[in-house]
Subunit: 342 residues, 3 copies
């Protein structure tokens, strides 16, 4: 594709020779002739000088380069779109693989692709153009929307609802029993988890992550939420629209996470609390109680991030502080005598 | 079912009209006509006033309501039992699915249900009424007790023993090799993990959790232990009877966890130590050394929970304390002169 | 096998009766007649006195025992080798199971073992003697080297490269999409992850661990690296040769981990940083920024381990320190009067 064609397709401003041919996108370091590269993170600015790419995608207001450039107000989004344009994914076999096992009462949408050894239970509805890779298991009563993708090894338990364009990476488990037991006189009594899970449109869930079904009602993951690998969402939680949970985050039961929340990897959230809209959570934080909208929190237990940074820095001075106070006490004892009774 | 019938079946005291028909259980918020709701956590007391349920299950000593009530000394256990009574799970197909792959030397108990694409190796014994959902893999030599449930995608490696009524949620892996390597002159030498895993009766293990096989001997999960999703139990551990490990907990190798221990989510336990009976561990704690029975610990590294709470609170005052000590030093220097040599 | 034969095979020095028959290896505690036991960890020295084993494997310079002994400079490595000699693994069925689903364009190496319900996509190359257990899914374009083992439920996404002797435990996912989204005006835009994963020779990856594919280029796990269960390696990372990541470790995107690094369980590493060769990381540490080669770090945020130990100990004295400073302030106020303006 000529660079000028790419510019037109992406809605980018072109500077320099638009007739260079572009056949792939590579990083600044790896790019060579025929490649478009990009600069979205200023951290990599220094690599611009030595790139062997044929053209560069970068911010509208970036200084001129010798190389031809595509300019975008949001170069990161333009980069994502360029990847989609230039990268042809492997075609999937259409239709139902003869080695899929599909209940007679299940309905499969037009253009859906069902891989080998997929097992689909009674009364399941699979939307148009959905893709189920091999070895996926869909329990009875599940509804899956249009254009969803379930990668190999995914398990969706009974009666779960997935919206449109949901993407489940390999090994994801949706709708396993919540962890609910009532302490009884002869040990823990299992509380049947008769609720379900609702995954709204455009949600993406990373490899081997788990979202448990509710005890009653539904665990809900709202539209455009993105969960990374090995995330755990417990029963009866609600994860807000557009919220992003990085890898290995855990959210305990019945907690409500607001819209546009961002949590760093391995953060943990207690049960039965509310995380307000737009909250940001430092990686590995442990959140014991509700957090107001818009706050940025960090630490274990988590506090306002500026307080956490200040106390973390102060902590390094604590051993010295202990010595200083001991010295002060000695000096004062020397001047005033030891205090009464000591 | 009439409320009075339910009362009799649950052994609850009935107050009010026992002739109302109950067909399902819902939360205080979601319940409507024909629904039984419940109050087990006092936190939700305020929602009682506005519930639209036909009846309420609550504690024996709770104040009178206008609605008919069922009274139980342990309303949470009664709730669990009511769910079991009122919630008919989807019937499972009995027998062996024609698309299961079962070794000739395997023995399948009466009334067992073996799903599509299940693979069962040589010399496996599956107990009566056990349920293996689709795409489960049972390696050779495994023994599975009666009434066990293995959800889709479960893998049980060779020679592992499961007791009766064990429930494995989707993606659980039992008996993978422990992480054992001997540092040698040309890199790490793998130590063959020739031990096994023993899972006793009534254990439940959450989605995508892993319990590794022992190097020699057995990793053991004792009766009625409950492990939540994404928990990791390393080789040669023993997890005590009735112990509950919340999601994403990790227990390093050769550690012995006692009976009735409770660990919050993401807690981590070092290897080769002992956690006494009845210990409680705050979520995300990191336990570096053995803990005596009955202790409650928190923090990283974990200490007695009251000390952890006190130091966590004190930490927030540390930046101010640094300023106060600086001021004291200045005042004393002003009064006594600077100390020698400074 | 006679003890003297074992000694010769292992290259160990024999002390005592070499004619005793050894048929298995057991721990000090569990060993009986006919068993070889071993002492590699001095912590278990006390159990030597009461072992019922027929012979003991231990360090060259260990004191004499009544029992016959095998002596090795590195008894842990000798133990690993003895296990390999004495423990006959269950034979695997050779060849391709009739219920495997293999694309016509795939090539399967001589002596490979392909289990039931394995699905292998177009253009896949499986090396000689590789073992794919049941229910494994290999996407199109994957290359797998000789003598690799993929346990049940493993998923390898398209175009991933595995070297020789790679071992993937059950549920491992290699090559899932990295967690990459560009914030756009109408929500997050998915960045297609068109890169791949390269796993070099002799790598072992634990159950349900995940290694994501790169956005561009490749996520790389270098030769002899060992990853434990539930580890997460994000897109564009490089994990150095011989590096060991314990269970539930997470490494965020584009981070480079050096050679011979050791991380304790549940440690977390930020993205876009460098961990130098030979770094050691205490379990559960959170590493926010690059670490120089050879350092030992701990804490959250992680610092030099000696500083972390000192501050952790000092922290326990903080509540008392607050009281001491209050007392000092009172004494000085008493002697000098309250400071101005307070």
């Amino acid at each position: 594709m000529k660079l000028k064609t790419l510019a037109a397709r992406l809605g980018c401003v072109l500077r320099g020779d638009g007739d260079v041919e572009i056949d792939a996108i590579r990083s600044l370091e790896d790019a060579g002739p025929g490649h478009l590269t990009f600069l979205a993170n200023p951290k990599y600015q220094a690599q611009l000088a030595s790139t062997r790419a044929s053209a560069v995608l970068l911010a509208t207001d970036h200084a001129e380069l010798v190389l031809p450039t595509l300019r975008a107000d949001n170069p990161y989004v333009a980069f994502a779109e360029a990847l989609t344009l230039l990268h042809e994914p492997r075609p999937l076999p259409a239709g139902v693989h003869p080695r899929a096992v599909i209940a007679g009462s299940a309905r499969i949408g037009d253009g859906a692709s069902i891989g080998a050894n997929v097992v689909i239970g009674d009364d399941v509805v699979i939307g148009p153009r959905a893709v189920l890779h091999p070895n996926v298991t869909i329990y009875p009563g599940v509804h899956i929307g249009s254009d969803c993708v379930a990668h190999a090894g995914v398990v969706v338990r009974e009666d779960v609802r997935l919206g449109d364009r949901v993407m489940l990476h390999p090994g994801v488990v949706i709708g396993a029993d919540g962890f609910g037991f009532a302490p009884g006189p002869r040990g823990a009594v299992k509380i049947p988890q008769i609720g379900t899970v609702i995954i709204e449109d455009d949600v993406e869930i990373g490899a081997n992550a788990t979202v448990d079904r509710a005890t009653l009602g539904a665990t809900i993951v709202r539209t455009q939420a993105k969960l990374d690998n090995l995330v755990m969402v417990a029963h009866n939680c609600e994860i807000g629209a557009g919220t992003m949970l990085a890898a290995q985050v855990g959210v305990a039961g019945s907690t409500k996470v607001g819209r546009g929340v961002q949590m760093g990897g391995q953060a943990g959230v207690a049960g039965h609390i509310t995380i307000g809209d737009g909250v940001q959570v430092v990686a590995q934080s442990g959140i014991p109680s509700s957090v107001e909208a818009g706050k940025i929190v960090g630490g274990y237990p988590a506090v306002d991030v500026s307080i956490w940074r200040r106390t973390s820095a102060a902590l390094l001075r604590l051993p010295g502080l202990l010595r200083r106070v001991r010295r002060l006490e000695r000096r004062i004892d020397g001047a005033l005598g030891s205090p009464d009774g000591e």
